[in-house]
């Protein structure tokens, strides 16, 4: 087949949101016929207005949300087929959450180690070695014994990244890794991501960090109202996007960035 | 096994017992709410002595079994006062006092979740502290507290079965009497248990419906604490 690390084919996902009263139920079509291919070493960046369904799509890729329709492939293996061991599949996919979601009862080291011990079943010493190596990669060796509540947001998110890369996954999915952080803390996370990019890590990132996108992304994907509106290299979006919606969005976001 | 169910006499007993069980529970919950509210206001606004006394009161009624409190009410209190006292009256009182110890915690918890903001808001429109308590804080606190109130109702009802062992005729007493005549131990307790179950579950369901109607959107008590 293809040399794709991951592929989404015609994925659909809707979900219901309860309103104030019991009767008000809104159906939101977060993902409508989205297809995407990621090859080894690719760095792709999804961006678009908030609430457009980007995060839902990313969660579908990791099968943390199960798509209503369509297929997700990890290498040659279909994840949407019946009887797939999703846990094994997820062990090969790193995921970084917007709100970090560290395990609150474990130290930084414990957070990174858990999957190595319980999912990869590595012996204790090797798991520890690899966990420490992952924490070194995100430059957090001094936080090893700290609990999530004792770290800054930037440190916590770097632990989140270490947790995702420690088991050497085929691909890392990052869901707005910097948007929940205070502006002065995003830098350290971006630096970490840049290092990963230079090492050739395959990544699919949902983010609005435009300078970062320009620097590392091979392809940018403009996503709005549940589907992909436009795809292209950063130069396209920063100079002259084809669609009006992308144009508007880029103007807004670039104005904002320069004002700051 | 269940032939005795056709005897109307037993049903009169069951009905008589259930009446006492229901009366004592309802009275206990209501007296408990009234006293519990006073205790929580005292605990929030009172001085050191008042707070200390309230803490001792609560610790006594929450720290020891209601069963032993019933014995104290029925045996110890009349002995201390050298008075012949009505066991029913004493039982009513001890249930109310006990429930107040628990309900103080619920009401105070509910009041504290809304107290600061709502008190400031009340005073800002010119109401006094007491007016704000009466018209703003307590009405809200009572709505928040309904689920805890339901729990209190369940556990008080269950505790009334202890009254059978100080000679009062509640539903469990009715069971003991019927069992004493029919010797159908297992069936009798199954029927008595089922009656308790239907009554308690039914009332809880009703309370849940009331809560759903009355609850203030967005304000809920963290039942953990």
């Amino acid at each position: 087949m293809t040399d794709c690390v991951m592929e989404a084919k015609h994925v659909y996902k809707t979900y219901c949101v309860k309103g104030e009263k019991r009767k008000d139920v809104k159906v939101i079509e977060a993902v409508k016929d989205v297809s995407l291919q990621i090859r080894k070493g690719d760095i792709k960046l999804i961006f678009g207005p908030s609430g457009s369904g980007k995060s839902t799509f990313l969660r579908c890729m990791a099968m943390l949300d199960i798509p209503d329709k369509g297929d997700i492939y990890l290498g040659d293996q279909s994840l949407t087929a019946k009887g797939v061991d999703l846990n094994k599949a997820r062990a090969r996919i790193g995921f970084v959450f917007q709100h970090i979601y560290l395990f609150r009862h474990l130290t930084a080291l414990g957070n990174v180690e858990l999957a190595l011990r319980q999912v990869l079943k590595l012996p204790k010493e090797e798991a520890r070695k690899r966990a420490i190596a992952a924490l070194e990669e995100v430059k957090l060796t001094d936080c090893i014994k700290k609990y999530p509540s004792q770290m800054s947001g930037g440190q916590a998110q770097r632990v989140g990244i270490a947790r995702a890369i420690a088991r050497k996954p085929d691909i890392i999915l990052l869901d707005e890794p910097t948007s929940a952080l205070d502006p002065e803390l995003t830098g350290e996370v971006i630096d970490t991501l840049r290092d990963l990019a230079h090492e050739g890590t395959t990544m699919l990132i949902v983010s609005h960090e435009m300078p970062f996108a320009k620097e590392v992304a091979e392809e940018m994907i403009f996503y709005d109202e549940g589907h992909v509106v436009e795809t292209g290299p950063p130069s396209l979006f920063f100079n002259a996007p084809n669609t009006d919606r992308a144009k508007q969005f880029m103007t807004r976001i670039i104005n904002r960035t320069t004002r700051e | 096994m269940f032939e005795w169910l056709t005897n109307p006499l037993y049903w009169t007993w069951i009905f008589q017992g259930l009446t006492l069980t229901v009366e004592i529970t309802l009275f206990g919950v209501c007296l408990g709410l009234l006293l519990g509210t006073l205790l929580s206001i005292g605990d929030i606004y009172g001085g050191r002595t008042a707070r200390g006394l309230i803490a001792i009161y609560v610790e006594f009624f929450r720290g020891s079994p209601l069963f032993i409190q019933i014995f104290i009410a029925v045996y110890t209190v009349p002995a201390l006062l050298h008075l012949q006292m009505d066991h029913y009256l004493l039982a009513f009182l001890v249930f109310g006092l006990n429930s107040a110890g628990y309900q103080k915690g619920y009401v105070k918890g509910a009041m504290q979740t809304i107290l600061d903001d709502q008190m400031a808001a009340g005073m800002s429109v010119g109401m006094s502290r007491w007016q704000t308590l009466r018209h703003v804080i307590i009405p809200q606190a009572y709505r928040i507290v309904i689920p805890s109130w339901t729990n209190e109702f369940c556990s008080l009802t269950k505790s009334t079965s202890a009254l059978a062992f100080v000679g009062l005729f509640d539903l469990t007493s009715a069971g003991l009497s019927i069992k004493g005549i029919t010797y159908q131990v297992l069936p009798v307790w199954m029927v008595i248990g089922a009656i308790y179950f239907v009554w308690i579950t039914g009332v809880s369901k009703l309370m849940d419906v009331i809560y759903e109607r009355k609850k203030i959107p967005g304000v809920e008590l963290d039942l953990q604490s």
């Binding site: 319980q118 | 079994p65 032993i68 110890t76 469990t172 131990v185």
Partner: protein
């Protein structure tokens, strides 16, 4: 029997009160934890858990003890003929129902995102529950668990209705019957209960708060 003899007699009942409440508490944990997770994460069978909880919320412990001991005990002397077994059985099942409720609240408090994070690193549902949820759920439930244990100590007084279990309340009644003293045995009894329940609730509360602060719940 002078006052001090009464007190010592009552104190001899403390080990029995404690053992009934500890065993029931452990039974309650063993039942309550899986039930709470089942109720939340296995929607198809959650109605059974609901029914179980309702039964123990809706039937007095005394009636259940009488039912199992005098009712079933005649047909199955093993194990229901043993008052100690029936006491732990009824209180343990009751505590399981209560604890299931406590843990359920805690699971909601810990939050679904922790489960999702667990699955994102490849842990299965029940392994995420075990490695990630359970440790946090315990911490989160401490004030509730403290009062639940205190409740078991108090409710162990109900075993007075069975025969042959000489715990605190049963002893207080025996003393009243043999001495005609209506005052001291009950007052002492109540004070002993308070002396047991107070430090337990207090220390569990403190431990829980410390631990909560540490992990930022």
């Amino acid at each position: 029997m002078d006052v001090w003899q009464q007190l010592f007699n009552l104190l001899e009942g403390v080990p029995l009160t404690l053992s009934i409440s500890i065993i029931s508490f452990l039974v309650g944990i063993a039942l309550g934890l899986p039930l709470a997770f089942t109720r939340i994460y296995e929607k198809e069978i959650s109605f059974a858990v609901d029914l179980y909880e309702k039964i123990f919320r809706g039937i007095p412990e005394i009636v259940l003890m009488l039912l199992f001991f005098f009712g079933l005990g005649t047909f199955f002397p093993l194990p229901f003929g043993s008052a100690f077994f029936v006491a732990c059985f009824v209180l343990g099942l009751r505590s399981g129902a209560n604890q299931s409720q406590i843990y359920r609240g805690a699971i909601r408090g810990v939050g679904d995102e922790q489960m999702i994070a667990g699955q994102s690193i490849g842990l299965s549902k029940w392994r995420s529950i075990w490695h990630i949820m359970v440790p946090q759920v315990f911490t989160f439930s401490t004030p509730g668990l403290g009062s639940e244990y205190a409740l078991l100590i108090k409710d162990s007084a109900y075993v007075y209705v069975l025969s042959g279990l000489l715990e605190i309340t049963t002893r207080a009644n025996q003393i009243r019957q043999s001495t005609g003293d209506f005052i001291t045995p009950y007052i002492f009894g109540a004070l002993i209960y308070i002396a047991i329940t107070f430090p337990i609730a207090y220390s569990l509360d403190r431990w829980g708060n410390r631990r909560k602060k540490k992990i930022g719940l």
